[in-house]
Symmetry: C2
Subunit: 415 residues, 2 copies
């Protein structure tokens, strides 16, 4: 707890420095951070090996260890990511609106940093560097709280980045890592209203639920994706098959992967047998509702839980619906408001779907896998917001800012 107050104060002071930092200075700091990480690769890899050894001792899964593991390639990617952030345009100081009121007041609305951002994440050390770089570029100090298994690696990364920052004349409090990885301290961080302006959880559904339940600091919910593809009766069925395979299998562990397939009843018999075979060929386990199971013996009977579950693996559940309205109602009931797609050549169906589906990103004739800061052209992202306030969908640098009204008068008073 004491650690949080000290780091909260350091972050707050650093954020007051950052609010006046120029873009060129921030870019120079980012490049220095990237170079320092790159130059210290050997040290980082050694520390990371120790984290991995401990994780193995503690019997953590291979998937977990895979996410925890750094190698020269990944360190290069981390350093390159930071230089790329340096190249992105700085949103701070840009005008959102300008107005002159009849009473002569000039009202400007400009982008300013949020202040201090808390980020709670799991055991992928690259998040440490990505988040620190995005926060710095947008003029924010950050307090990072990564998974306990990655503590050694995260600490090495943060120390190296801080040293580079200090050499460039920045306070080291721009980037802070919480070293007490207890659950109690994580909860205290979510309630650190005196120092934090916003908290962003990055990770699985359990972490996000804990933040939404416990945080008193304004939070931005990210990244749960129970995404659907709906194949309409007017779909190009070959296109539909390609999109379903891509959305489901190109990277099943991520939040923009397809989890559910809805198929219009008029084309179900024509479309599903080949679709299910193709999914099987890709190693996908197929669940289906009654009608799907009648059409194909390749599907196992889905339960009510299946419709709400985010599998994040090579598994899909398929349902037959009788109309675009039924598809929309199903998605709005079971979806997580992330990414939803319709495959159709019919303009009414696509317009209806775009308008009525309640999600951050709604697609016509494309894979849900495109919901991503890079694919949207933002250059980088801190996460994908699935809530409605502040930001929705991929969050780039702009979403790490807030606004401020600057009002210039000449003695105006209100009558």
């Amino acid at each position: 707890m004491n650690e949080l107050i000290i780091k909260g104060q350091m972050a707050k002071m650093a954020s007051e420095f950052l609010v006046t930092a120029r873009e060129e200075e921030k870019n120079r700091a980012l490049i220095a951070m990237a170079e320092a990480v790159y130059e210290n690769s050997d040290y980082i890899l050694k520390v990371n090996e120790e984290d991995i050894a401990l994780a193995r001792q503690n019997g953590l899964s291979e998937g977990f260890i895979e996410r925890l593991t750094l190698n020269p390639l990944r360190i290069n990617a981390i350093a390159k990511g930071m230089t790329q952030v340096a190249e992105l345009p700085d949103p701070v100081g840009t005008y959102i609106s300008r107005d002159k009121r009849p009473n002569g007041l000039e009202i400007e609305k400009v982008r300013v940093p949020l202040g201090v951002i808390g980020i709670i994440y799991e055991s992928r050390p690259n998040v440490t560097a990505d988040a620190a770089a995005l926060c710095l570029k947008s003029g924010n100090a950050c307090i990072l709280r990564g998974g306990k298994e990655a503590l050694g690696t995260n600490l090495a990364l943060v120390n190296i980045m801080q040293e580079a920052l200090v050499k460039e004349g920045f306070p080291k409090g721009c980037i802070n890592l919480v070293e007490d990885t207890s659950r109690e301290t994580a909860t205290a961080l979510m309630r650190l209203n005196e120092y934090l302006d916003v908290i962003i959880p990055r990770g699985g559904a359990g972490l996000i639920r804990a933040v939404m339940e416990n945080a008193t600091v304004p939070a931005i919910e990210t990244g749960t994706g129970n995404c659907h593809v709906y194949v309409d009766k007017y779909a190009d069925l070959a296109m539909a098959r390609d999109i379903v395979i891509n959305a489901k299998t190109s990277r099943p562990s991520v939040c923009n992967a397809e989890e559910k397939l809805l198929v219009h009843s008029e084309i179900a018999e024509r479309f599903l047998p080949a679709m299910i075979s193709a999914l099987h060929e890709e190693g996908v386990e197929v669940m289906g509702d009654e009608r799907v199971c009648q059409i194909s013996s390749g599907a196992k009977m889905a339960t009510e839980e299946d419709w709400g579950e985010e599998y994040l693996s090579l598994k899909i559940a398929i349902k037959v619906v009788d109309s675009v309205d039924q598809a929309i109602a199903h998605i709005n009931k079971y979806g997580t408001r992330h990414s939803e797609a319709i495959i159709t050549e019919n303009i009414q169906a696509s317009q209806k779907f775009l308008k009525e589906v309640d999600a951050a990103a709604v697609y016509v004739n494309a894979s849900t896998r495109f919901t991503d800061g890079f694919e949207f052209g933002f250059g980088a992202e801190i996460g994908i917001s699935t809530q409605k306030i502040h930001a929705r969908g991929p969050m780039g640098l702009t979403e790490l800012t807030t606004s401020k009204y600057l009002i210039k008068g000449s003695g105006q008073i209100r009558r």
Copy 2:
């Protein structure tokens, strides 16, 4: 609790209707609501009298009763307010950005309603009509929970508005009033994540604290204003005096009123005696720090608590500072990030103040009283956000919307 679930479901269904409602339809409904309120003035006033009688019986203060009271003039203003909302441009469906990616995907970012908005407020019945109108125009269903002393009046208003809505073909679930005014039900409303997309408290510091502490629904903090005016050494002192009097006395009970006065030490002896006399003439109680008390016997010694307190009355605390930096540091420590003003003819001082003061609205040479949706040209406001995410400062119709990415492809898959 059961009431909340029923009203939550009704609001959710209504919000699905509203998402497809056209601007003309919404405007027609608003005008019908305004007419219905106007035509039922006598009934509303009768019910309001009963609420007032009960409030008097329960020994509530005159200030409280003043806020609870309706009269023909106030009902006219309520009805007129609704027709004015009808005249405002509808933000829903407007484009925030449009982009065509190299892979041919067309990405549009458009404004859409938030969905269902919860509003918790105290005993001013006009909030019931204002909030309902703003939510409806922005395509949102609302669940209103007003103070228990205004329940009769609020229920009368909501019933009249619902009837008008139904005649115009809208579901009555567009506007819902929570009739169980217990504290437990208010807390349950703050945690009604299944149905609510956002919750907005409107009222005093205690209410806002309760929402920030208990809500699991994303909340927007509004309306606490410990606002400062800083009179720099390069100020036009006559202008400064007029602004201080206006900011402090024109409406002391509102959140954009001045609560604190900071004065540069080099002009303090010249400025303060006349300033304090002028404040006294307006009936303002003056507190001061040691230096202020040395300069003028008209000030009583302020305590540490004074600097953080929002008086909301004819009371002010004055402090002498030695630089613009000290003024900024004091404001960033004690302010509530609402509205802050500098009075100066010096460009460096004003630039520094604009950049470094952390608040929704920062003024140069104007009264803090202008922080208001009408004064900013939004036509109306649902409240003034003092948090940094989603909206900052006066919240108009645009701030009651979120965004949605609409992505049109021709079979794109992600490599």
